[in-house]
Each structure stands twice: as structure tokens, then as C-alpha cells.
Amino acid sequence: MKKNLHCVYKLLPASALGAVIFMLQVTLSNKASAQTDTAKKLNEVTISTSTIPQIQTITPAQQVSAIDFTRNSAFTVADAIRNFAGVNIKDYGGIGGVKTVLVRSLGANHTGIFYDGVQLNDAQNGQIDLGRLNLNNVQSITLYNGQPDNICAPARAFASASVLSIKTIRPSLNAEKPYQVLVGIKGGSFGLINPYIQWQQRISKNWSAVVNSYLEKADGQYKYKVNGDGSDTLATRRNGDIKAQQADAALYWTKSDSNQFNLHVNYYNSNRGLPGAVVFYNPYSKQRVQNRDIYVQAGYEHLWTNSLHLLLNTKLSRLYTHYTDPDFLNNQGGLNYKYTQKEVYQSATLAYHILSNWEVSYAADFAYTHLDANVANYACPSRSTLLNAIASNLVAGKWRFQGSLLNSNISESVKTGKSSASRNVYSPALMATFKPFNNSNFQLRAFYKNSFRYPTFDEFYYFAIQVRDLKPEFAKQYDLGATYTKSLNSWLDYITFTADAYYNNVTDKILSIPNQNPYISSISNLGKVDVKGIDVSIKTQSKLSNNWRALLTANYSFQKAIDVSDPASSVYLEQIPYSPKHTVAINAGIDHQRFGIYYNQILSSSRYYSGENLPENLLSGYSVSDASAVYNFLIKSKQVTASVEVNNLFNANYAVIRSFPLPGRSYRLSIQIKI
């Protein structure tokens, strides 16, 4: 949204400019939510590295777990998943910069971000800042194209084009050692200091708790090269400082694996500067954004012996954003906007095995979301979302079939003006795997999914004199793939291989069409995009030999994402902005007993920052390398882990988003002790 709106700016005199800056700022002030937990059987998580990664899923799924984070030199969720095939991270740079995920050239709003099974929802602009999600308490992150393969899931899990599922650490303690404490600190470039603590406590046979907390402080400064302003020295990126704290507490009651309850409370507070785009000759920005988010989440799961499976989830959230720009030249002496978004969410799912090979489920979710803002004439909209999903999973010989049908019923009301029209949409999905050969590790898979992303509150109401007449943006996905997995007896432990070809068709794409009057019709459903792509992944690991072991993961993505909106337009059949045709990600490493050294490489071909594929609109490709080393040792029989990570090892000068240069070489040191 941000990009498209830019152009409006210039057409217009100041009045319109105000609106655009405003919208821009909302995009930047992006409110991701922090974390929480709900026990749920979404997907099995493999922690041990010696087992073969489970890649033969019904839709493509890619996973990283806690042990991989250092190997990937990752500090946030955004870093941890940037190697995934088909993934592009939109990175605005720096430690406090917004990072969102684009999967298979669909917009960021098409990916649902789930924390322990419950979605982090943002109805205001729909973008979850993955750069805000710290890895300290994360156990695993899985990206599912289409949807997760467990059909006993909330209806929201069926509602996105892809799902990024983040799972937090759960306590596994016994009566002999009823507690475990992790204390650590990370620090390094950008003036980063990030101390954290995790306390796991066994309360009784059935009750346990985890408390996580961290502080993060960084000045965010880094050197970068401005290209094109005639300067020959490096400039310093300023106003990118951040101060953040997060605390979350989880309480688990586990009667058995089939009868459990959890309760989570999560608080996040941050205050950060927004360095803004690098504008030639004008290096100053005093924009700031403060976030104060809290939510409470509870989940209950019961599996009866007759295979009836119940899953309940509840969430209450309040997201507060305060944006200021003292340099904005209005009469009030700057911009000062406050937004409060509240949501009540309830989900219930029932699943049942009609036969041992045939499971059906029904899920119903209700959410009520309200946004308040101190913006003149703002609609202050409320949205009621009722989702009903039925799903079925059937295994028949060499075949496995899964299907789901989601009904979404969305209506809104507003405090002032008119609300958007109500919508009732059906979204089907069909998936299958087929094992052509007996005793073979080769599988074929295919899926079709029809999903949509709903217009955000910003798109409907922001600086709209009347509510904008918008439809949902639809995405149809077709995927055909093959997977191969084999455990080996040679010097290799295993090898896994996946290849998927896909076709995505986006219709009614929500575009901001610059217009001389941005208040009336700057956003509409005029876009159509065709994406043809290939994702290839290979993973292998050598057998332990003299305590040495080598690991290799490599992903390649091809994406041809072209604009097919208007044959008369100069951007017809051109590659859409910020979509690289080729991306390669390689991660390799060697372990030796307590020591590991890892190398990560990402290559991206060039992209265009504007719809016209002209040389002057080209953002050059880049090659960025990271390296890390980990050492585990004991101090007074306490396990200590120390690591050093170097990001952008060869000091590449690059940007993912035009005018948002990324940092050169940077360092991070971590030390953690387990008590």
C-alpha cells in the first residue's frame, strides 16, 4: 500500500500530502503483536537434528527450529525464515525497521501469522512486523503454503493463502528438577543490548508455567552509502533507535496429552524512531512510534477415546499505537496520532474420525474488532467476522485427500459516516498426495486453494470522505509438487528433496490508484497478477564421523509475477515491483562436539521498484552472506552457550526497498546459561 500511495503525494498540494504522509506513517507504525501460546496439535515439531525433517506434507511446509536460529544468524522471526523457498522479506532496514513476509509474490496480508495456533490479527493495516518478533521464546517456525495439514484447527487457519505458525517453548520438567532458568544476553552492532530470562516451573503433577521477559535497547545507527547524491563518504542512518520490553507468562494444565488447558498473558511495549526513506539532501527524521500491546489467550483441548476432538481458543487483545512527527508542518506543530485496536476472539473446533482413515472437522470462529483513532472525521470502524469451516481428511491406499470449505461472513459498523458493505464469501481448498511406488520415498502432491484477504480499515476508511467501495482481494493458488526423502547408510545421514511448481492468480487486487483527489478514489480493486513459480529445496546432513558432522540446506525460487490488469497500460505483462525472479538461499555448517560453525548465503536477482520494467527503475540484485559460530561448555555443571554471529560478512551495500538502505557488516555476541 505504501508504495502505491507515494505518487499521490506529488500531484497534490499540501492538503493531499497530509493524507498520504498519514497513510504512509500508518504503514510504518505497523503494529505487529507480540506473542502468546495455546496448546494445540497443529503440527509435530522435530527438535532433534538427527531425525529427518518431515517434508512430505500435503501442502509445502518449511520449518526452522530453535537450534537453527544461530545457524541462520537470526535475531528475529523475519531473519529466521528469510531462507525459505518462495519467501521474500520486505525489509525496511535496521534493527527497528519493519519486516513483513511475502509468500509466492502474494502481498503480506495474504499470510496469516499464528502464535501458538492463534492468529496475530491486525485489522488496521493487516501487516504484522516480523522484525518485532524476538526469537528468545520461540521453539519452531513453520511456513505452510495453503494451510496447515491438521484439520482440527481454528477456522482462521483456513482463511489465508499461507500460514506462518510460530510455536513458543513449552516446559518439559520432572519432579526431580522442577524448574529451569535460562538467562542470556545478546549484544553487538547498532548499540544492541538484549538481556532475557526464561523461567520454567513445574507447579504440580498437572500444572506448570513459563515466564519469559526481555529488554531490547539499540541506537540503531549504521553506515550506508547514498547513491546518486554526489556524496563520496558514508552517511549514518539515524533515528532508528529502539527501546522495547516484552513479558509473557504461560500457565499449562496437562491432565494428559488428550486433556489440556493453557493460559497466556503477553505484554509488549516499545518506543522507536522511524528513520524514514533516505531522501537526498534531507537526512532528518524525528518520527517516532510507540506501541503498547497486551493480550490474553486461553486454549483448551480434549480428545475423547471415541476420537471426538475438541479445541477451544479465546483471545482478548488491545493494540495501542502512538505516532508522532514534530516536524510535520501543520498548525498543531506536528502530527500526533493515537490508535487503539481491540479484539475479542473466540474459536471452537470439533473433529471426529468417522473411520480410522477418515477424519472430519467443523470450526467456527467469531471475532469483533474495533479501532479508535484521534483522527479528524475518522470512522472508528468495528468489524464482526464469523468464520465457519468444514474440513475432511481421507487416506485411501496410496492416496491422501484433504478438503476444506470456509464461509466468511464479515460486516462492519462505524461511528461516523457509512460502513463498508457486508460480505459473505465461500473459499474452498483441495489437497492430495499420491505415492506412486511401493516402498519408495517418493511422493507427489497437489493443491488448489481459493482465499482472499479482506480490505483493511485503512483501505476502507483512512482519509476517506466516504467509505471506499472495495471488494476482497482474491488469490487462487495451484500447486503441483514432488517430495523425496531418504535415510541413507552412506556418509550421508539423509537427504530430502522437494520441488513444487505453482501458479497463483490474484484478482481484484487492491491498488492505490493515484488520483488528483486521493480522498475519493485512490484505492480500488483494479489489479490482476499472474504468478508462475518454482520452489526447490534440498536438505542433507552427514553422519557423525569422529564427532564431525556437516549440514546443508539449499533453496531456490523462481517467480515470474506479472501485472495483467490492463492491456492498455505501460505496466502490462511487466514484473510486479519488488519481486525478484530468482532467489537462492544456502545454509551450510559443520558441528564438532560442542562447537559449530555455520555459513548462510542469500542471492537475489534484481527487482524493479516500480511497475515499468525500465533500467532506471531497477534495484540491483544482491548477495549477502552471514556466518556464525557456537560453543557449548559447562561452568560448574551449568550448561553455557556462547555464540558470535556476523551478518553481511562481505559488507555488501544493498537495499530490498528503494531508499531504505540495509546495514553493512554487523556483529552480534550472545551468551546464555541454563540453570
Binding site: L11, S15, S569, I586, N613
Partner: protein
């Protein structure tokens, strides 16, 4: 480890170089061969605003003798870009003044070559003043900025000698009857724009009066009969764009009328006529002598200008130049029309072409 790294590097280099070789190199085509001008124009500059925050404001230059189109003359000659959102360009004497809004600079350059003579940074400490438009009087360049000022720039020493306080977020300005008229838009106050035109005494360099006009005045021009024409943009909701005519002898409002004007349209005058863009993207001609509509649509040969954005008259030939911003994201175009509204030629410009200046031979 070392080998591993080298291997990766090799793959990287190979991949990047193979990818790099597939870029399409498109050269901006000249849609038509411009005809030889009837005047003593040596060339034409078109200032393109570029895309917001993309630092791609460019200065298209077309040379009539060599028939050569330079996509960015400023960068070609100075080795650096104009920056972000060039909003106004005017030639005064031998110098050219380019007002760059978001970069908050005014580039003073040689009019013939675009070689920068001085880059003036428009900052109040670290607060960008955001300059918008320039006008001239005697040895002064007068520059409006969104911070509510008109800077007085000495055209010889190229230093700002004074900031004159005017209304909120001033946009365009014009000298008429030895006074300066400044449109105070107040456009950065959403829902509460300004509605005044400041009158500045050019001897004392102070604001002497504020004339109340329609809401959100932006564009301003003076005719040869002592009137100043102001187009206000309204509030984008209930208050429509309108035209206010000010009598500069009395500084009183003569006439005020709603008009079907495009949001953000410029207004220019030449002889007995004023030109502006209507809401349905036509170029309308207003007779400033009779103060009535002259022509509902200037273009007479059916030429379609998708998004007319900037207007400029060649006073010697009466040719009207119209920039086409298209979708504001793609490269634009500039059309030359003869007096009768027939297209003569067009040139490809950069993104969002907004202002034009002619260089004399």
C-alpha cells in the same frame, strides 16, 4: 569451511552474473519527431517530480537543434540527482531555479547547461522548510515554503536575506502590480485548510494584508488587466474547487465562482486567456478580459492527454505545452499544441512531469 565458502561464492557470482545479463534495456523512445520550433527556443526543460521517497525527480531536456532528448540533464551534467519531488522550475536571467520540495533544496543552475551554481538547503535548524514555488521581482527570487514563509533570495549573491512570514503552507505565488500575492493553502491541516492570499509589499518585504478567498488556495496567476486569479481546491468533500479573482488595485475580491477544476490544477495566463485543467481532464480556456469562459476544451484535434498535469505557454508562438502524468508511476509525456489546439509533437519525460521552462537560443 573455506572451500565451502568459496563454492558458495562461486555459485553466487555465477548466478548474479547470469541474471544480470537478462535485463531488458529499454530506451525512452521519442514518440514523434519534434518539428523545428518557430521561435528562438534552444531547448525545453521538463521537471519531473518522480515517485515519492524514490529520489528520482529528474530534469528532462530536449534540444531542438540536435533533436536530442536527455532524460536527466541535471544528473548528466552534475553527477548527482535533484533528489525528491522537484516542484517548480523557472528561468530568470541566465540562471535557472529548481525548487525541490521533499529534499528541501533550491538548486540554482546555469540556464543553458543546468550546471549547478549553488544548492541552497532550506532548513530551519533540522526542520525541512519544504520549498514549493518560486517567483521573481527585480534582484529577488521569492520562494514559498510549507513552513509558512517566503524566502527572499538575492539573485546576485545567492543568499537568503529574509524570510517573510505569510499564511499556512503557502503554495504558488505571483508578482502583480508591484506586489506579491501568495496562496496560503493550509493543506497540511486536514479538515481545516487556510483560505487566504497574502499580499506582500515588495519594498518593505512584509505582509500587508490577507485576502480571504475560497478554501485551500493553491494555484495563482496574474493577467495583464491587473487581476490575480486564484484556484482553490476546496476541502475534497463538500466544498468544491473554485476560482477567485482579485483586483490588485484594491486588493478586493472581484468575483468568486465554483468551477469544474481538477484537484491540483495549475492556472496560467497569456494575453487575454487563462488556462486550467478541468475535473474531467480537459484544458479549459477562460477569457480574462471578458471574464467568461472562452473554450470548454482547448485541444481541437482529438489528442488524448490522459492526465494533464502541468501547463506552460510559449509567449512568442502561443504554443501550449501540456504535461501528461499518466498514472503517476510510469514515465510521462509532454505535448506541444499550436495556438489552435492541434498537436505538434510530444516527448517522453520522467515520472510525473509537472513544470516546464524554455531556454532561449
Amino acid at each position: 569451511m573455506k572451500q565451502l565458502k568459496l563454492k558458495n561464492l562461486f555459485i553466487g557470482v555465477a548466478a548474479i552474473s547470469s541474471l544480470a545479463s537478462c535485463h531488458k534495456d529499454k530506451i525512452n523512445p521519442n514518440d514523434d519527431k519534434p518539428i523545428d520550433p518557430l521561435t528562438n527556443k534552444a531547448g525545453i526543460y521538463i521537471l519531473n517530480q518522480g515517485a515519492f521517497n524514490a529520489n528520482n525527480s529528474t530534469l528532462t531536456y530536449y534540444d531542438y537543434a540536435s533533436k536530442k532528448l536527455v532524460p536527466d540533464q541535471f544528473k548528466t551534467i552534475n553527477g548527482r540527482g535533484l533528489g525528491d519531488t522537484g516542484n517548480d522550475i523557472k528561468i530568470y536571467g541566465s540562471k535557472m531555479y529548481i525548487v525541490v520540495n521533499v529534499s528541501s533544496t533550491v538548486e540554482v543552475a546555469d540556464a543553458k547547461t543546468a550546471k549547478s551554481i549553488k544548492k541552497l538547503d532550506f532548513f530551519d535548524n533540522t526542520v525541512a522548510r519544504q520549498p514549493r514555488s518560486v517567483a521573481f521581482y527585480k534582484n529577488m527570487a521569492l520562494i514559498t515554503s510549507y513552513d509558512g514563509t517566503v524566502a527572499v533570495l538575492d539573485t546576485a549573491s545567492l543568499t537568503v536575506t529574509k524570510y517573510i512570514k505569510v499564511g499556512r503552507n503557502p503554495e504558488q505565488l505571483v508578482v502583480a502590480n508591484d506586489k506579491l500575492y501568495v496562496a496560503n493553502s493550509g493543506g497540511l491541516d486536514f479538515g481545516n485548510p487556510d483560505k487566504t492570499v497574502s499580499v506582500v509589499d515588495l519594498n518593505t518585504l512584509t505582509e500587508t494584508k490577507k485576502i480571504t478567498v475560497a478554501l485551500n488556495p493553491v494555484s495563482i496567476a496574474a493577467d495583464k488587466y491587473g487581476d490575480v486569479y486564484v484556484i482553490s481546491m476546496g476541502d475534497f468533500d463538500k466544498v468544491l474547487p473554485s476560482l477567485t479573482i482579485i483586483n490588485t488595485a484594491t486588493d478586493a475580491v472581484k468575483q468568486q465562482s465554483d468551477l469544474s477544476a481538477a484537484y491540483g490544477t495549475p492556472i496560467i495566463t497569456s494575453g487575454d486567456f487563462a488556462y486550467f485543467v478541468t475535473a474531467d481532464n480537459k484544458i479549459q480556456v477562460f477569457n480574462v478580459k471578458t471574464e467568461t469562459l472562452e473554450k470548454a476544451s482547448f485541444i481541437s484535434d482529438g489528442t488524448v492527454v490522459t492526465t494533464p498535469f502541468g501547463l506552460k505557454i510559449d509567449e512568442e508562438t502561443g504554443e501550449l505545452f501540456v504535461t501528461d502524468a499518466k498514472d503517476y508511476k510510469s514515465n510521462g509525456e509532454v505535448f506541444a499544441f499550436d495556438k489552435t489546439g492541434k498537436k505538434e509533437y510530444s516527448l517522453t519525460t520522467g515520472i510525473t512531469p509537472g513544470a516546464i521552462a524554455f531556454v532561449k537560443k
